[in-house]
Amino acid sequence: MRRLNHDTVIAIFLILASGVLFWSTFSIRSPDYGVLAPSAWPRGIIIALAILSVIYLIQSLRREPVEGDVPKHPSGIKAWVVYWHNPIICFGLFFAYLITLPILGSLIGGVLFVFSLMCAIGGIAPRDVMSHAVLALVTVGGMWSIFTFGLDVILPTGVIFSPF
């Protein structure tokens, strides 16, 4: 049997997701008024998604993967992590930024996020760290000032700044 390709896996996932979503539409309440039930539109979309996913699955099983469609990945967990290092770091740091936002606020959190992302991708040589710190402070501080003082937007202050 031929090895499952990426397209096949994605198509199967989409078909399963369509099933789960379609099942969830049965819990949508219908009011006594109005002609188009609130569940009608999502159901129509999900049916279309399921049909397209089946076509996608059939296509993926019938044809050989086209060279260059999807970049080749290195095999093995270590190589995979090395290949995806930058996006993983980026998502991880943004996740940490969001988790710590209520504590650090958007100014400190933003500066730390930009600084740590630059260091994680660009390296931690003393000269680089210095330029990363200055850039993070100036740019995030500048944007924070524009929104806070220029546009009167109340950004999250965090527990550190909240007494002020």
């Binding site: 188009l36 930009v114 524009i146 950004l155 999250p156």
Partner: protein
């Protein structure tokens, strides 16, 4: 009436603050457009959070300025480094870079700048004159027609994915589904929320756009550690002076090419989903085919710069025309502009220009003025571009991600939007990686509720579903949607299979039917012209013995390449 509206709009925009904001917008757009990997749509979407606190006309003028700047910024990187700043300036590099390398970078830049300017002005004039006429046509649309128009927009956008048509359609449907999450707009019932408070509120449309487009694009750009640490200046020399006079002389010699390419741009922009990335290649291809010296293309000929640069700037006039007259965005950038209008509680529709004339004319005038500003600022921004090229890619990405973290929160002051940004950033990144086009998904997100509301209205008027295929406009959009969905299959088999010889004539005959049904005089006459063209094509093919033309297939492959 028009003069009154123009004067009122000028009065609205003629404040020092607005002019300054527009200049900053054009300058920012020029730089964003010049940085490879930073698309115009990304620049416009990132401007959105700044504008929500401004008056509608000022905010929209700022965004239009970023858009106009971005359209012209791509040529700087394309000509000087050989790497197009945006997909809209890919064809500019074909002749711009060779001309720069042969010792005339100033002339190449000058031709690019003046072609962009001329394309923008032609497009602005057409936008101002044709949008109100198109809106009059739009007034004929009933909910059935609108619903089918949205379906057509999604289908044609997906069909531009070429051999990935199914992936494009899936992306469009996923976009519609994303918009369906939360309370439905008609009766306020919870849908697809799985009992979650967060999902019940639905996804903020701007956070979704920034996540899908900007966040995922930035991660894509810095995926490779070596590329992430590179600076743009490592790739070419960038210190030059623009030769304005010599450029104007060259453009004057090729004024017909300039006008034709601009018209190609406007027409491409009017089509939903087709943007500058297609227009510049189409215009380049047409310029080469009609040139007296086609063999010079690719070696640094001025025609090879005039065609793509005038067409890509003209695109947005066309895209804004469809947006302002029909409420349907012509491309991803126009979809973001639609988001900007919605933030200011303005819903574009055929009545928009009539009901909000000052705002509509403010957008027209901003487009016009920003094009002049672009011309003036290009030389100054070239120096800034030289400085920006010294910054490493990962630094720019980190700073912009930091901005996303502040800007997205600022729109609604809700933490949840930041999580939406993250999840859709991941989704967009994964989709990009596996070859799913994002444009249909973005249009799906933007058009989802328009489609649903019109479906609900249609069903509320009558439970009979036959108007979806019997009303002339609905049938027209259904037919063109069908043919556009079949287009990638036609492209794949053109010149190889006999049935492809009938595709164009059949499309002509089929579209003539609803045109005749519309009645009056001009439309049946147009239908007769379309049928005559279809019959002539069929006759010519019959005369040639139903021969498949391998040259045509080759041409198409070149365009696709």
């Amino acid at each position: 009436m028009v003069i009154e509206n123009v004067l009122a709009a000028v009065n609205e925009l003629a404040t020092l603050q607005t002019v300054l904001l527009m200049m900053i917008g054009v300058a920012g757009g020029l730089i964003a457009g010049a940085i490879p990997g930073f698309t115009i749509a990304m620049a416009v979407v990132l401007t959105l959070p700044f504008t929500f606190g401004m008056p509608a006309a000022q905010g929209l003028a700022t965004m239009v300025s970023v858009l106009v700047g971005g359209l012209s910024g791509g040529l700087m990187a394309g000509i000087l480094t050989g790497i197009p700043g945006t997909p809209s300036s890919v064809a500019t590099t074909f002749d711009g870079f060779p001309m720069a390398r042969s010792g005339r970078p100033g002339l190449a830049l000058g031709i690019g700048v003046w072609s962009s300017f001329s394309g923008g002005i032609i497009s602005a004039i057409l936008l101002m004159t044709l949008a109100p006429q198109l809106a009059r046509v739009g007034l004929e649309f009933q909910p059935w027609d609108y619903f089918m128009l949205v379906m057509f927009a999604l289908t044609i956008t997906a069909s531009l994915a070429g051999k990935h048509l199914v992936k494009g359609l899936i992306a469009g449907v996923v976009g519609l589904l994303v918009r369906a999450v939360g309370e439905d707009e008609a009766v306020g019932m919870a849908r697809l929320d799985f009992g979650s408070e967060a999902l019940l509120q639905g996804f903020d449309f701007i956070a979704v756009l920034i996540g899908l487009f900007a966040f995922s694009q930035l991660l894509h750009d810095i995926r490779d550690p070596k590329e992430a640490r590179k600076t743009l200046s490592e790739r070419g020399a960038v210190n030059v002076e623009i030769e304005h006079l010599a450029a104007i002389r060259e453009i004057a010699k090729h004024w017909t090419l300039l006008i034709r390419s601009s018209l190609i741009g406007v027409f491409t922009g009017v089509l939903p989903g087709a943007g500058g990335s297609i227009a510049n290649i189409l215009a380049y291809d047409q310029a080469k085919k009609t040139s007296k010296t086609p063999e010079k293309f690719g070696t640094g000929t001025p025609e090879g710069i005039i065609a793509p640069e005038s067409s890509n700037n003209a695109v947005e006039g066309g895209a804004l025309m469809t947006l302002m007259a029909l409420g349907i965005p012509g491309d991803v950038t126009a979809a973001v502009m639609l988001g900007a209008l919605l933030i200011h509680d303005v819903v574009p529709s055929p009545t928009f220009i009539a009901e909000e004339p000052v705002l509509a004319y403010s957008i027209f005038i901003a487009f016009f003025v920003a094009t002049f500003m672009m011309l003036g600022l290009q030389s100054v921004m070239l120096r800034v571009f030289v400085m920006v090229t010294k910054i490493r890619m990962y630094m720019l990405a980190a700073i912009i991600l930091g901005f996303c973290g502040i800007g997205v929160y600022a729109i609604n002051n809700v933490d949840l939007d930041l999580w939406t940004l993250l999840w859709f950033g991941i989704l967009g990144f994964v989709m990009r990686h596996y070859g799913f086009p994002l444009a249909p998904m973005i249009l799906g997100v933007v058009l989802g509720n328009i489609a649903e509301l019109n479906l609900a209205r249609a069903v509320a008027i009558s439970t009979d579903l036959s108007p979806f295929v019997t009303r002339p406009w609905a049938l027209f959009f259904l037919i063109v949607a069908g043919f556009s969905a079949a287009f990638p299959i036609y492209q794949a088999h053109r010149g190889r299979k006999k049935w492809t010889l009938f595709y164009l004539p059949m499309a002509c005959f089929a579209t003539a039917v609803p045109l005749v049904m519309m009645g009056g005089i001009p439309r049946p006459v147009l239908a007769a012209v379309v049928v005559a063209f279809g019959a002539y094509t069929l006759w010519r093919r019959a005369q040639s013995g139903w021969n498949l033309n391998p040259d045509e297939a080759e041409d198409l492959e070149i365009i696709e390449g």
